[in-house]
């Protein structure tokens, strides 16, 4: 099991080594120590390996991740798992702004709180936040599921498209074109599936969540909506 100390090894060396791995590598579990908030750690992974990072990471950790599992034992800076394609990213601490931004697939789990713009412009990623999320989360969210056990800040789901938002706690305010929607069986099932994949099988009751999504009123330009553009 390769163990890399970022206190002594340059980040470039770590990422280059991770990028060189072939899909059938037997170096499939990496440990990274002393990340100390460095940016772009384990960004651009493309093979099904596991990278465990012991400590807090800076911006864009696991950015554009494909197939890999990245476990962050600590908090994450801006844009953790941004534009993730597939795989699993798990933050045991809090996450800063724009967690999972534009993500197109895979699963991002955050055990603490996520700051503003969590899931901004998400395009298919599933995000599960055990704590709360800040303002403008799921702004222009296109596809995927954002699940929040705690509360959501102002302007949740502003200008949302087809993403589904599930919030268990309070929502401070909904953004333009975002409304509460009926929680039908298919949605409970979808939520259940996401929770199961995130490792909360049976521990959390989907019935406790409310669902939010697009009223689809801003989908086409209309004079009467001019104030909302």
């Amino acid at each position: 099991m390769p163990e890399i100390d970022l206190g002594t090894t340059p980040l470039r060396e770590l990422n280059a080594a991770l990028h060189r791995l072939s899909p059938d590598t037997n170096e499939s579990h990496w440990i990274v120590d002393h990340p100390e908030g460095r940016h772009a750690i384990a960004a651009g992974l493309a093979v099904p390996i596991t990278v465990e990072i012991n400590g807090p990471v800076g911006y864009y950790c696991a950015g554009m991740n494909k197939l890999a599992t990245v476990l962050i034992h600590g908090s994450a800076g801006v844009g953790v798992a941004e534009n993730m394609m597939s795989g699993f990213v798990h933050v045991t601490g809090d996450a800063s702004q724009s967690a999972g931004a534009t993500g197109r697939g895979g699963l991002l789990r955050i055990d603490g709180n996520a700051s503003s713009r969590c899931g901004i412009s998400m395009k298919g990623i599933d995000i599960v936040v055990k704590g709360s999320v800040g303002h403008m989360s799921a702004f222009m969210a296109q596809a995927g599921n954002l699940v929040v056990f705690g509360d959501a800040g102002e302007a949740l789901g502003d200008s949302i498209y087809e993403a589904r938002l599930f919030v268990r706690g309070k929502v401070k305010g909904l953004g333009a074109d975002c409304i509460e929607k009926e929680m039908r069986d298919e949605h409970k099932q979808a939520l259940h599936n996401v929770l199961e994949r995130a490792g909360f099988d049976g521990q959390i009751d989907p019935d406790e969540f409310k669902r939010y999504g697009s009223a689809r009123k801003l989908y086409n330009f209309k004079v009467d909506n001019a104030g909302a553009y």
Binding site: Y59, G79, T102, A226
Partner: protein
Amino acid sequence: MDWTPRTTPRPSAVFDEFSLSEIRRAAATGIYDIRGGGAKRKVPHFDDLLFLGASVSRYPLEGYREKCATDVWLGTRFAEKPIHIKIPITIAGMSFGSLSAQAKEALGRGASQVGTSTTTGDGGMTEEERHHSTLLVYQLLPSRYGMNPDDLRRADAIEIVVGQGAKPGGGGMLLGQKISDRVAEMRTLPKDIDQRSACRHPDWTGPDDLEIKIEELREITDWQKPIYVKVGASRPFYDTALAVKAGADVIVLDGMQGGTAATQEVFIEHVGLPILGAIRPAVQALQDLGMHRKVQLIVSGGIRNGADVAKALALGADAVSIGTAALVALGDNDPAFEEEYRKLGTTAGCYDDWHEGRDPAGITTQDPELAARLDPALAGRRLANYLSVLTLEAQTIARACGKSHLRNLEPEDLVALTVEAAAMAKVPLAGTDWIPGT
């Protein structure tokens, strides 16, 4: 005789015919006008500059005999694989979605035939354009439509789009009429809806974040690809300085005449600087930082002919980029389609409803029948011809100024025809040694 002389009916210079029609249009619809193209009103431009040519004290190079080189290296600052273009004219980013797949392919073919690069756009990379473009620049825009690490790695360079000259500070829009199944799928959005692209990036704000974003992109691509930063011309001195500080290899500076696929008319005509006024401040920033020619500067916005190219280079740019002119070379606004333009309520040369997707030339459309009208091989050939002419024209001027490489053109080769152009381009008013402001 009871006859009072009448004055001639007098149209208002202020409430001119266009303004009146726009008031009527607004009153009828309640929504702003959206269109394609760039600023249509007259602003100070390259036409307001002249080259001096050779004289007793400067001798020219022999046309057709003595060499005048045209190539440019882009991305030499940090990228392990900088790109080498044979002519200093690149094809600007125009999205698949705004353009048909055939048009994107034609752009790739034309650019590749003359050894230059083309650029993706707000909508991701298509197979056609990757396949037909020897050198392809991949844009990272606020919308991140279609963004993925595989395309990032198979691109030859990456362009972070902060802004566009037609709309600095504005996002994009693609109206429902142009959302085909393929476009919708690439963007992960439902069909037939009006798609908006955000004006701000979702995961960074400000120059300090930009620096970290660039670092991430370099890490993902193992420091191989040149990274460009594209800005609309608004504060070119500071934007250039900040982009250099953030680690850009190349700055792309787009003036207000620059085309767009769909933007509010009011935005196109009233926000941003003409490119003429933006080049010198950007070059000044590069020079102040000791980065001129180390970080390359590509400028765009209303480039039409080889003289425009030569003037942009003389003011300090390393290369230019073209959008509108490339579309015209493919066949956009061709008088051959006059009858159809008439049916759309316009005329060849004025057609700018590119957002509606009904382009008779098959370029700014997703309608399969219209798009099929454009033969990518033929249109690509026309673009290659046009690019060759631009290059020959720029060389003609450069030789007359005694330059063995286009990049050796310099402000000293230029004078201005108007006080405004003299002030903006910081070259003397013709026949004087007066540069306003100095």
